[in-house]
């Protein structure tokens, strides 16, 4: 696989063999060596072989190997002649991040951090197969799948502004509950309002630095502000949707009439019954994820008010934004000077729409869409803003996080004999977790330094830095 340096932030995977377009990897010099050692570059090239791909198979600087598509991958396919692939979205459909600001500053919470993290641990179900206190009947579950965040609003677990400040207003309208299997429905019954396991988290943080005061003001962020960030997805339901369609499309792949280089790239033409059925099933899982994150945020609001003994007005916990980073979207982009309808797959990548874009809610339209980039639990997270350049180069996409550098097994080995909890507490970060190996697997060194990742997308102009956050208390799954 030949990698050619384009400039300080871009590398080209030269088009060879079955590739229909080249690949472009956004990365700095310091990252590219570790990227080369992984299978991820090959995966960028594999994606470039899929029918209907437009311009290039893209990868963000938080790229690492995934199943089929790399994580950090962005690929757009022509809506009429291209494919849609469950592997291009990922197992955890609409895995995403939301960030809320508060009216509080560090002094309001500093002495209460341990109580807060303990109370979050008690009140927010997390860990393997965790189930929540919301038990749905099938008929009600289907409403969640249709309505997304609005279901939570109808049940008193959201403010109107939460919906306004969520990507797609927390609902993909094409969701069709009849497109998903009984297995998927069954898995969704008991998991609404649960965090999940692995890298999912809920974090109380602090705005450490503002880079762009004007945009930060519009986003409602200020230096020294207490924030709440959470990372979760569509739980078992999303996994089941992905796995069901992966199995089905792998079986029917011959119908497309071309060989896929990896079964995890199983796909269907968008304009086929399988393609459309997946798109509508994926939307169900996406809506479930939005409702889930909304409910988790509502629970966090209640915990903060209870522990700090304050009311909603004093807490002032408002959603800055909610982004999804595992999704396929029908979007219009300008390609070679012509407007075209595309199916943009973002797998471990975030939409980063520019100022003036009609899909950005009115409140932020003048400055651009907020982009949330969580780092590891020991270092930092970032708030960025979408740019015109992202629209031109990456179908309005940018990075989604730090990206792993160590496999879970390698991280566990490295953490052996250490108390990650104590190391974090020494830095003033309180952490609680559920899974017995979670803390070792998720230790800070398991991830790239998110600051390096963000510097690449900022430098390449596919998002711009607005604020840097630091963690104070973290609940892990």
């Amino acid at each position: 696989m030949e990698l050619r340096k384009i400039d300080d932030y871009r590398w080209e995977v030269v088009k060879t063999g079955q590739m229909r377009v080249p690949g472009i990897i956004y990365a700095g010099d310091s990252m590219i060596e570790s990227i080369k050692q992984e299978e991820a570059v090959k995966q960028v090239a594999n994606v470039a072989t899929l029918p209907g791909i437009i311009r290039a198979s893209l990868a963000m600087p938080d790229i690492h190997w995934g199943y089929g598509f790399p994580i950090g991958g962005v690929a757009a396919f022509d809506w009429e002649t291209g494919i849609i692939s469950p592997g291009g979205v990922g197992y955890d459909i609409n895995c995403g991040v939301r960030l809320a600001g508060t009216s509080l500053t560090e002094k309001d919470v500093k002495k209460k951090l341990e109580d807060l993290v303990n109370s979050l641990y008690q009140n927010i179900p997390s860990g393997v197969g965790s189930t929540g206190n919301i038990k749905l009947a099938y008929s009600e579950e289907k409403k969640v799948l249709k309505e997304g965040s609005k279901w939570a609003l109808r049940h008193g677990m959201a403010y109107e502004s939460d919906i306004e400040n969520t990507e797609d207003f927390g609902c993909m309208p094409n969701a069709d509950p009849d497109a998903i299997s009984d297995k998927a429905l069954e898995r969704g019954l008991k998991q609404l309002g649960t965090l999940g396991s692995g890298n999912h988290f809920l974090e109380i943080g602090l705005v450490e630095k503002i880079y762009d005061p004007e945009v930060a003001r519009v986003f409602g962020l200020f230096e020294g502000q207490v924030t709440v960030m959470l990372h979760s997805g569509s739980r078992g339901l999303g996994y089941q949707v992905c796995d069901d369609f992966l199995a089905h499309m792998a079986k029917n792949i011959k119908k497309i009439g071309f060989e896929i280089p990896d079964r995890q790239l199983a796909c269907a033409m968008i304009q086929s019954s399988d393609g459309m059925r997946y798109f509508n099933a994926m939307a169900c899982a996406a809506n479930y994820a939005w409702a889930n994150r909304q409910i988790l945020m509502h629970k966090a609001r209640e915990v903060l008010m209870h522990v700090l003994k304050i009311g909603p007005r004093d807490l002032g916990m408002n959603l800055v934004y909610d982004v999804c980073h595992n999704i396929a979207k029908k979007e219009t982009h300008v390609v070679d000077g012509e407007k075209r309808v595309l199916c943009v797959h973002r797998k471990g990548a975030t939409r980063a729409f520019p100022p003036g874009h009609e899909s950005v809610c009115e409140k932020y339209r003048a400055v651009g869409q907020p982009v949330l980039v969580p780092g590891d639990m020991g270092r930092a997270s970032y708030v960025l803003v979408g740019t015109e350049n992202a629209m031109k180069e990456t179908f309005g996409s940018t990075c989604h996080g730090a990206g792993r550098v160590l496999s879970r097994t390698a991280a566990l080995k490295k953490s052996k004999g250490r108390s990650i909890q104590r190391e974090l507490e020494d830095k003033g970060i309180y952490v609680r977790w559920t899974g017995r190996s979670t803390l070792g697997e998720e230790m800070p060194e398991a991830y790239k330094n998110v600051s390096e990742v963000v510097n690449v997308v900022h430098g390449a102009g596919i998002a711009r830095k607005v604020a840097k956050l630091k963690p104070m208390a973290v609940l892990k799954g």
């Binding site: 190997w65 199943y67 898995r187 996994y239 199995a247 990896d262 899974g435």
Partner: protein, 138 residues
């Protein structure tokens, strides 16, 4: 040795061995159960449930077989105690599976396995025995 962990950049990869294909599929089921949970309770009699799975080829059948068994845990909260293949052909299998409900005081979750993937899947004859490589998403 029925299976071993493999050093792979993937999250959780195993190689499973069997003297015959039937043996291989049974051992793969055993490996999945072993990776998922520890059982601290005493064995007790359980009824058989018949499960039939098919695929496009051996690797596809292996993934579909493990998918079905994993669903018993992720979807039904059931712990697979044994899986006996009663028939195997190209490319369908029928098995009698014994399982019991997951009880948090009895079963300890060892690995949060979320999916059996096609990533680098192999089912092959290696010398006198059969071997499969499976990567799980965790």
């Amino acid at each position: 040795m029925k299976y071993k962990m493999i050093d792979h950049t993937a999250d959780l990869g195993i190689e499973v061995f069997g003297s015959t294909l039937i043996d291989l599929f049974e051992n793969a089921a055993w490996a999945l159960s072993d990776l998922l949970t520890d059982d601290t309770g005493n064995p007790h009699p359980l009824p058989d449930t018949s499960i039939t799975v098919s695929g496009q080829d051996w690797p596809d059948l292996m993934v579909n077989w493990l998918r079905e068994l994993l669903y018993l845990f992720t979807g039904k909260d059931m712990i697979v105690k044994s899986a006996k293949i009663v028939s195997l052909s190209e490319y369908t299998l029928t098995a009698n599976v014994k399982y019991e409900p997951f009880l948090s005081y009895r079963h300890i979750i060892k690995n949060d396995i979320k999916a059996a993937t096609y990533h680098q899947i192999i089912v092959e004859q290696a010398g006198p025995e059969w071997k499969t490589r499976i990567i799980f998403d965790v």
